[in-house]
Chain length 355, copies 2
DNA sequence: GTGAAAGCGCTAACAG
DNA sequence: CTGTTAGCGCTTTCAC
């Protein structure tokens, strides 16, 4: 009868200790702890007290072994916990944590060998599901369709188009930018963005284009300046754009970094932001956007929402309600001083849904 | 395709299935799979073949239950997977992963309630150890000294000074910056940094100060311009500094963001970098440091090493060789174009730099 | 109402 | 060499 000190320091108390302490059987203790079966209130309380006294925390592993479910999921990122996958993971962890699910984070460094290795590890740890995330939205080889557990892709998608994927609305983001410029009364617009081989760049450009054209503005896909995702290209692209279209009065940039570069060149050329030229960035990467002078209006992809949504789809799938195909999460326009809206702020922050 | 054995579809194969398939007992299968005991080679091979055929992966939970070790650790960050904790976690994950240890990542959002909740969860999942990380190096309340598992602090430390903590060498980083300036032949130096209440800011400043003074330069702790960790403060601080010391020829900044702001003001005032004024940042935050024109020389805290080291200390502690107190990981100087070790101030004229 | 017993998947003694 | 047995900590019938 070890009514003495709990587990004598080294061992963590088990349900057996609690049962002994409460003077009941293991089975009864289990029921009391989980509110199962029919027990006298006094018994329940006695067990609860013993558990509290011993600092008992049930061994989740043992539970999992029995339940055939671990209440864990794996999050695999190819992005080295980078700027894009982080918010996604945060959102996912948030949504999962609320459901008492813990997350194994795995960073493959974009190495297929490491990916396989992590996958094996996650499977042998019997995770209930998998979220695969990355830095680019381009379809990637499926991580496996016969894994026996549900998989959701976030901020990336599988070549197998049936697998569920959650993506930001790059097209809609482009539309948002265009709409905001038009609201500001700027119709002579330009667009400087990243490499054309990036699907995200093309989508943003076409959303921007079509929204401008749809509103009666003049802008053609050929006017888009594709380059790279860097400040340096922003500086260079701005020179090119201003030479080609000196009367431009608004520039939409494919990233906040590009926008920073553009701002530099504009300052150099004596063009004021936003009075002469309005500027919109993309990513709403706050250190960049806020550090700029003036702070940048930007499109926020709401990556936390992407992650959260991915988690919700995964939870649904784990509960036998799988989803299929691509799901789009809307972007958000964040207005700052690099654009000068002429209408009440309430109308600025809106969401445009893409088809 | 695995052949259809008992429970082929839904269930994952267990060692029992493998044993049956190989026509041996469970115990034998276990030994064969783990290379234990003495078995006939043929038997081993038969079991291995069966396992392969069935796609068997051992249930790590069951193993853990038996071993009393889970080969998992928890990483708790207060930093929302932010800029500082990410590399730390990467390094930790790296070192841990090599030892087949998986990582539960938990983000407390700096909320003590969430921290407690995560801690409970990690304990009930029986993690073998804990790494606590944050965004600031200031001592924080211990997460618990009587947890029964080892804890290592990384990029933060416990108020209980006996607990092991791995910290970047902010003091040494300041020294590095000073040394580099002196190497470049610049002795009239300035220092613009973050808020004085940040221990990191004070350490960097004193390292810088003492190294400058030690080399016969003149710089006093009173000359340090404390402000905030922002580009805006960099812009403002540069104005202040140049007004107070118009002949300054080198500025050490407490962060790359501050350095960006300083660079902006220098450009505005017509001072060339690095010809007229050399610039060193801190953090080596590549998007910031590389995006700057010219790219910034910066001090890298090697946070991945901090994380890796923390993991090593944790592994040691798990293997009953705990360590105690603070351990310092050295910084690294990354030279880029904002300083020019070859050419002393004023000698470099009209160098062309591609945009 | 409560206890005893079976077993989740696996490993580690022991027998044979 | 291989099979049997006894658990790891927990939940869950099923008797009493």
């Amino acid at each position: 009868m070890p009514s003495a000190e709990p587990g004598s320091e080294g061992r963590r108390p088990t349900i057996r200790d609690v049962a002994a302490q409460a003077g009941v059987s293991i089975g009864t203790a289990s029921k009391a702890l989980n509110g199962q079966g029919k027990l006298r209130v006094a018994t329940r309380e006695r067990v609860a007290a013993a558990a509290r006294e011993l600092g008992f925390a049930p061994n989740v592993l043992a539970k999992a072994l029995l339940a055939g479910r671990t209440y864990t999921v794996g999050v695999i990122t190819t992005d080295s916990f980078g700027r894009f996958s982080i918010p996604v993971m945060l959102g996912a962890e948030d949504a999962l944590g609320a459901g008492q699910i813990s997350v194994f984070m795995c960073d493959t460094r974009d190495d297929p060998a490491r990916e396989r290795q992590y996958l094996d590890m996650l499977l042998s740890r019997r995770v209930d599901g998998l979220i695969v995330t990355g830095r680019r939205i381009e379809p990637r080889p499926s991580i496996g369709v016969t894994l026996g557990i549900p998989v959701v892709y976030a901020m990336t998608q599988s070549l197998d188009t049936d697998e569920p994927a959650i993506l930001p609305d790059d097209y809609g983001g482009g539309q948002l930018a265009a709409g905001h410029f038009l609201q500001c009364g700027r119709t002579r617009v330009g667009h400087i963005t990243g490499p054309e081989r990036f699907l995200a760049a093309r989508k943003r450009a076409s959303g921007f284009c079509e929204a401008v054209i749809g509103a009666g503005g003049t802008f053609s896909p050929n006017d888009v300046l594709y380059g790279e995702w860097s400040e340096r290209w922003g500086r260079e692209g701005a020179h090119i754009l201003l030479r080609a279209a000196p009367d431009v009065e608004a520039i939409f940039c494919g990233s906040d970094q590009i926008a920073r570069g553009v701002a530099d060149t504009l300052r150099l050329l004596g063009r004021r932001v936003p009075q002469d030229i309005a500027l919109i960035g993309f990513d709403n990467w706050t250190p960049m956007a806020l550090g700029s002078d003036p702070p940048l209006t930007s499109i926020d992809m709401c990556l936390e929402d992407v992650g959260r949504t991915a988690a919700e789809h995964l939870l649904a799938a784990i509960n036998d309600s799988p989803t299929h195909g691509v799901h789009i999460v809307p972007c958000r326009l964040v207005v700052r001083d690099s654009t000068d809206p002429q209408v009440p702020a309430g109308d600025q922050v809106g969401q445009v849904r893409s088809a």
